[in-house]
C-alpha cells in the first residue's frame, strides 16, 4: 500500500471502531434522534468526507454524474430519511455503512490494480539502470545509459543487463535473451558479434562498442511500445467509456422516477403514498448502479493480456490489436524467413551410378572451397558436418560466370554448377526443374557424379504452429511467396497448407492480401505474418501485421502491429491463445457485471434488495471482476 492507500485504510479502521462503539452505546442507552444523528455524523465524515467534497467539486465543475455523486446522494439521502422518520426507515447506520463499504471496495480495487500494474511492469523489467564505462584511471564508473554516445566502449559484467545495442570488442559470454524473446536457451556471443540491449550477460566479461544511442536501442524501443500500448484503446474499452457516459445519467433519472412516481400514483389512487419506502428503494437503486466494476476491469484485462504476451516475447502495440487478433479468420504467411529458415541447406544428395553420396559431397566441397556464395557455403557446411572435408590441394580454380566452377587438384578435374555447365561439357544431367530448390551438378574426370539439391528448410516449429492455428479455428491459411511454384508446393505440402500463391513480386503480395481481405466474412480479421524486412507494405495493409524475428530490426517494429521478438512461428498460435483468453475474460466481465447490476437494480426497484445487497452488487461485483481480470496475466498452457 502506498501513502494514500494507508490513509484510507486508517480512516476505514477508525470509522469501523467508532461505528461499533456507537452500536454498543445505542444498545444500552436511549439516545434522542438528533443526538444519534450527531453521533453518526462523526464516522460518516471520517469515512466519507472526501467523497462529499469530490461530489460537490464535481457539481460545481459541471461533472455531475460520477460515482462520488451517486454515493453522496445515496448516503445523504439515507441519513436525511433517518432524520425525517426519526430513525425508523432507512437510517443513519445504512448511510454510514454504505460509505464505509464503498471505501473498502475502492481501497481493495486500488491495491489490486496497483499490484497487478506492478506485476506487469516487473514482467517487462528490462530497463537498464546504468552503463559501466572505464574512466582514465581504468576504474569502472556507472553512468546513466542516456549519456553514453555512439562508439563508446561499455563494460558488462556477469549478471548485468546490456544497456545499449553494440558490437562485442572483447570477451565471450552466454546471453540470456528471455526477457526479450521468452526463449530460455542462452545464446553464445563472441567478439565481432552484435548484441542487443535488454539481454542479460550470464557468464564472462564483455567490452561492447555501442552502435546506437540509448534512446534508439532495442530496449528503449520495446519499452516505448509496451508503455504506449494501453493508449490504443480497443472497441470494448471504448464501448465501456461510452456506456458509462450514458449509463449514469439514465440511472439517476430512473432513481428519481422510482422515488417520485409510485408514491404519486398511490396518492392519486388515494392510498398511503409510502414516501419513505420508495425513497429508500431509489437510494438502493443508486448504490447498485455504480459502473466501476466495468470501468476498472476491462482496461485491466487488456493490460494483463498485453503483459502476458510481452513476457513471452510477443509485443502487442495496442489493446485494439489484441482484440483484433482474437477475431482473426484468415492468416497469410510469407514463406522465406517466416515458415522456413531462410537459409540454404543441402536437402538431397543423389549420386549417379558408380559413385557414393560421400564421393559426391567430397567432390562438391573441393569445387566450392574458395567460393563464398551462399550455396557454396551450405555445401561446405554439409561436408564439414558429415566429416567429409577434403584437404586435397587445389592447383587451379576457375569461375565460369553464370554456370559454375572448374577446379583442378593434383589428381582430379572437377566441374560443379548448373545444368548449362553440364551440357557445355557434354553431359545431359537429370532435369532439376521438378525439385524445390537449387540443383548443383558435379562432374569429375569426364564422368557425371551426381547432383546435390540445396533448398530452404522448414523451421522446426512451423508444422506444429500451422496445426495449432488450424485447431484454433482459423478459416483460411495462405502462404504467399516470391519463390518458384515447385518450392512453394513442396513447402505447402509439408506443412499441410492447402492454399499458396507462388511467384509473387512484392507488389503482388499486396494485391493478394487485398483479395483475401475481400473474402473476409463478418467481423473476421486478416493477419499477415512476415519477417518484417521487405514486407512493410503488406504488414501495414493487413488488419493485423505480425512481424517476426524482429529483434533489432527497426523497420519491423515500425510497420507491424504485433512484433514477435524471436522467429518462432509457434508464437503466433500462442499470441492467438493469449488474445482469445483475454477477450473471453473481458466478455465475462462485461456480461457478469452488467447482468448482476441489472438483476440487482430490478430487485432494488421491487424492494426485494436492501442497502446491504446493494453494497454487494457494487463492491462485490467489482472485486470479482478485478480478480477475474488479473487472470489475463497467466499464460495459457500447452501452447
Amino acid at each position: 500500500m502506498n501513502k494514500k492507500q494507508k490513509k484510507v485504510f486508517n480512516r476505514i479502521i477508525i470509522s469501523i471502531i467508532l461505528l461499533i462503539a456507537l452500536q454498543i452505546l445505542l444498545h444500552f442507552v436511549e439516545v434522542p434522534v438528533l443526538l444519534q444523528f450527531a453521533l453518526y455524523m462523526i464516522p460518516y465524515i471520517v469515512i466519507g468526507g472526501d467523497i462529499l467534497k469530490k461530489a460537490f467539486h464535481g457539481i460545481t465543475h459541471g461533472q455531475v454524474f460520477d460515482e462520488c455523486f451517486l454515493m453522496a446522494v445515496a448516503t445523504v439521502g439515507a441519513i436525511i430519511l433517518g432524520l425525517v422518520t426519526e430513525g425508523e426507515e432507512g437510517g443513519f447506520l445504512e448511510g454510514v455503512a454504505v460509505m464505509l463499504f464503498y471505501q473498502i471496495g475502492e481501497l481493495f480495487q486500488s491495491v489490486a490494480v496497483g499490484k497487478s500494474r506492478k506485476n506487469i511492469t516487473d514482467l517487462m523489467d528490462i530497463r537498464p539502470d546504468y552503463a559501466n564505462i572505464e574512466n582514465e584511471s581504468g576504474e569502472l564508473e556507472k553512468v546513466d545509459p542516456e549519456d553514453v554516445s555512439i562508439g563508446t566502449i561499455i563494460v558488462v559484467k556477469a549478471g548485468e543487463k546490456i544497456p545499449i545495442d553494440g558490437i562485442i570488442r572483447e570477451g565471450t559470454a552466454s546471453l540470456d535473451t528471455s526477457a526479450l524473446t521468452g526463449e530460455s536457451m542462452p545464446v553464445e556471443k563472441n567478439p565481432g558479434d552484435e548484441v542487443i540491449s535488454g539481454c542479460v550477460n550470464i557468464t564472462g566479461l564483455l567490452k561492447i562498442e555501442t552502435t546506437r544511442e540509448f534512446g534508439e536501442s532495442t530496449v528503449s524501443k520495446i519499452l516505448d511500445m509496451v508503455e504506449n500500448s494501453s493508449m490504443k484503446k480497443s472497441k470494448s474499452e471504448n464501448f465501456i467509456s461510452k456506456f458509462a457516459r450514458f449509463y449514469t445519467p439514465i440511472v439517476c433519472c430512473l432513481a428519481l422516477a422510482l422515488a417520485l412516481l409510485p408514491p404519486i400514483v398511490l396518492l392519486i389512487m388515494s392510498k398511503e403514498p409510502m414516501w419513505g419506502t420508495w425513497v429508500i428503494r431509489a437510494l438502493t437503486f443508486l448504490v447498485i448502479s455504480c459502473p466501476c466494476a466495468l470501468v476498472i476491469s476491462i482496461p485491466l484485462s487488456f493490460f494483463g493480456g498485453i503483459g502476458a504476451a510481452s513476457s513471452n516475447g510477443i509485443l502487442v502495440k495496442g489493446s485494439n490489436y489484441l482484440e483484433a487478433l482474437s477475431e482473426t479468420g484468415i492468416i497469410a504467411f510469407d514463406k522465406t524467413g517466416t515458415l522456413t529458415k531462410g537459409t540454404f541447406e543441402v536437402t538431397k544428395v543423389s549420386p549417379a551410378e558408380g559413385f557414393t553420396a560421400d564421393d559426391l559431397v567430397i567432390y562438391a566441397s573441393i569445387a566450392e572451397r574458395y567460393s563464398d556464395h551462399p550455396i557454396a557455403l551450405s555445401i561446405k557446411k554439409f561436408a564439414e558436418e558429415g566429416g567429409l572435408n577434403s584437404i586435397e590441394e587445389i592447383t587451379s580454380d576457375e569461375n565460369i560466370p553464370g554456370k559454375g566452377v572448374r577446379v583442378k587438384t593434383v589428381s582430379n578435374e572437377i566441374y560443379a554448377g548448373n545444368s548449362a555447365l553440364m551440357e557445355s561439357i557434354g553431359f545431359t544431367p537429370i532435369s532439376g526443374v521438378d525439385f524445390p530448390g537449387t540443383v548443383i551438378h558435379v562432374a569429375c574426370d569426364g564422368k557425371y557424379v551426381g547432383m546435390i539439391l540445396i533448398s530452404d528448410s522448414l523451421k522446426p516449429t512451423s508444422k506444429k504452429a500451422i496445426e495449432a492455428l488450424k485447431a484454433s479455428g482459423i478459416r483460411r491459411l495462405v502462404m504467399l511467396t516470391g519463390d518458384r511454384k515447385e518450392s512453394a508446393e513442396s513447402i505447402a505440402d509439408e506443412l499441410g497448407l492447402s492454399e499458396y500463391r507462388a511467384g509473387l513480386l512484392p507488389g503482388d503480395k499486396v494485391d493478394e492480401v487485398e483479395k483475401l481481405i475481400a473474402d473476409k466474412k463478418g467481423k473476421e480479421k486478416l493477419a499477415f505474418v512476415g519477417d518484417g524486412i521487405n514486407d512493410a507494405p503488406v504488414l501495414s495493409r493487413a488488419d493485423i501485421g505480425i512481424a517476426m524475428g524482429a529483434l533489432g530490426s527497426d523497420a519491423a517494429i515500425e510497420s507491424a502491429d504485433i512484433v514477435l521478438m524471436d522467429d518462432d512461428p509457434a508464437r503466433i498460435a500462442l499470441a492467438m491463445k493469449i488474445s482469445k483468453k483475454c477477450l473471453r475474460i473481458v466478455r465475462e466481465n462485461i456480461i457478469f457485471a452488467i447482468g448482476i447490476k441489472v438483476l440487482c437494480l430490478l430487485l432494488g426497484a421491487l424492494g426485494i434488495a436492501n442497502m446491504w445487497m446493494a453494497i454487494f452488487a457494487d463492491v462485490g461485483v467489482m472485486v470479482i471482476a478485478v480478480l477475474n481480470a488479473i487472470r489475463c496475466l497467466k499464460i495459457p498452457k500447452n501452447a
Binding site: 461533472q63 460520477d66 486500488s110 500494474r117 504506449n228 482496461p299 493490460f303
Partner: protein, 72 residues
Amino acid sequence: MKKTYGIEVDCAACAQKMEEAAKKVAGVVDATVSFMSQKMKVEFADDADHSAIMQDVVKACKAVEEDCEIYV
C-alpha cells in the same frame, strides 16, 4: 507533435474524465490517458506552444479531477 507525460490518478473513471477534459483544450488535437501505465499522451496542433497548452490541460484536468497530478 506528440508528447507523453507521466501522471498520477487513482481510478480508471477519473482517467477517462481527464482524457475528455484534455481533448477539449484549445491547441490539443488529440489526447489519450492510460490509467494502467499512468501516462498521458497529448497531440498538439502544429507549431503550437506546448508548454502553454499543457498549463491549460493541467487546469482542465484539475477541474474535473481534483487530486490528479500531471508531471509536465
